[in-house]
């Protein structure tokens, strides 16, 4: 799997910085260019990425996939699932045990458990 470059703008900044320069010089990122619509800056995003990588590892994802998968998410996506990875939807279609339980509800048209009608 191709490892994605996490912070392209940071890389640009580093590339054009001479060693003695302060860290803030360089190109302004696309989502920070317009004063009126500056995007949210995410606090402690590195710590959040580490937490999500741990969760993926605990969830049975192997390395190096777990690292690469976290790197493929944007800061906003990281913030979306940080500390909520068990609450947000994980599409998987459970279709065995619960069928009988939900059959009654299904027959009333309240729900639709079984996809293959």
């Amino acid at each position: 799997m191709k490892i994605k470059n996490l912070f392209p703008c940071l890389v640009i900044a580093i590339a054009v910085l001479s060693t003695s320069m302060p860290a803030q010089a360089g190109m302004v990122a696309t989502d920070q260019l317009q004063k009126s619509v500056i995007a949210a800056e995410f606090a402690n995003i590195t710590g959040q990425r580490e937490w999500i990588e741990e969760q993926l590892l605990l969830g049975g994802v192997a390395q190096p996939e777990a690292s690469a998968r976290v790197a493929a998410m944007t800061d906003a996506e990281i913030a979306q699932i940080y500390q909520r990875i068990d609450e947000v939807p994980a599409g998987g279609n459970t279709f065995l045990v619960l069928v009988i339980v939900f059959l009654v509800l299904e027959l009333t048209g309240v729900i639709d458990v079984i996809p293959n009608k």
Binding site: K4, P8, S18, P22, A72, E77, I81, G91, I111, D112
Partner: protein, 299 residues
């Protein structure tokens, strides 16, 4: 299953659709969308495989599972579905949650990746599917779903299961095209995501597409300038920032970035004038102050 929805209340969007039918072909079915039957819990990888193969990327559900599947969750997260879409150089554009928008996308030739909650809010059964068509006469959606090559689901029932999944739907497109119902905001959000994870070439194409439809969009102009710069095309970068500044000369960040695009082309005087302009607009800005110091030393 054998039940009728006749006894159920018709949900709002379905009623609207039936009361005031949109000006669209009565029947659409994108039969060329490939089908990959899912293994248990693997509806995400199977559905995404159908979409990306439709866009000409050869990828199996197993390959995609390594990008999105979480064994302990027995499923795939929405954010990873979007991330995997970008992995293939495709934009994942979030749709607006309107039933009619789904039909418009289908009529425009875009299959739609949807999340469904097939059970209850309190006991959800999440399921990813691909919408491949609809039939206004029969009042149903046509889907590739799970182990089913083709199923239909009444608009009313589809709307309910979709509503319970937060009306989540993605159109997956090449960066050279824009989904029929996308707005500048939703489309550019997907392009910006692509840029942020380093898909610079795809992002640059996405910004260029956005500018064909929304020529004065500042975010797209700035993004085009930044991605062209990152790819080493400094002349294109300069012209994008100049176009943006013609619309918004008060945006100091654009002057700062223009200064870099000029410096890279050896235009020292113009570059310094640009960074001075940024500082004139925002004298206290530490970034621009540092840029000025740096640019004086940059050939």
């Amino acid at each position: 299953m054998f039940f009728s929805l006749a006894a159920c209340a018709t949900p709002p969007q379905t009623r609207l659709l039936l009361d005031d039918p949109p000006d669209l072909p009565p029947v659409v079915e994108l039969t060329k969308v490939p089908f990959f039957p899912q293994q248990q819990y693997h509806c995400g990888p199977a559905a995404l495989a159908g979409i990306v193969n439709y866009r000409g990327r050869a990828a199996t559900p197993d390959e995609i599972a390594r990008l999105v599947y979480v064994p302990e969750l027995q499923g795939s997260l929405q954010v990873e579905i979007a991330a995997a879409t970008r992995h293939f150089g495709l934009l994942a554009v979030q749709l607006d949650g309107q039933l009619e928008s789904l039909l418009q996308e289908l009529a425009a030739g875009n299959p739609v990746f949807v999340l469904q909650n097939l059970a209850l809010d309190v006991y959800p059964l999440w399921h990813y599917e691909i919408l491949i068509g609809y039939d206004l006469e029969q009042r149903h959606m046509i889907l590739r779903s799970g182990v089913n090559h083709r199923i239909t689901r009444d608009f009313a029932l589809f709307e309910k299961t979709w509503q319970r999944a937060g009306h989540w739907a993605l159109a997956v497109v090449e960066p050279d095209s824009i989904p029929a119902t996308a707005t500048a905001q939703t489309y550019l959000a997907a392009v910006l995501d692509m840029e942020q994870v380093g898909g610079l070439d795809s992002a640059r194409r996405g910004y260029a597409s956005a500018l064909r439809r929304w020529p004065d969009n500042l975010l797209a102009l700035g993004g085009l300038g930044n991605t062209a710069y990152a790819l080493g095309d400094y002349a294109a970068s300069e012209s994008a920032f100049r176009a943006a500044l013609a619309i918004a000369p008060e945006e100091a960040g654009l002057w700062n970035n223009l200064a870099y695009a000029l410096a890279r082309q050896g235009q020292r005087e113009a570059s310094l004038a640009a960074v001075e302009q940024a500082l004139a607009l925002d004298p206290e800005n530490a970034n621009y102050q540092a840029s000025r110091v740096e640019l004086y030393g940059l050939e």
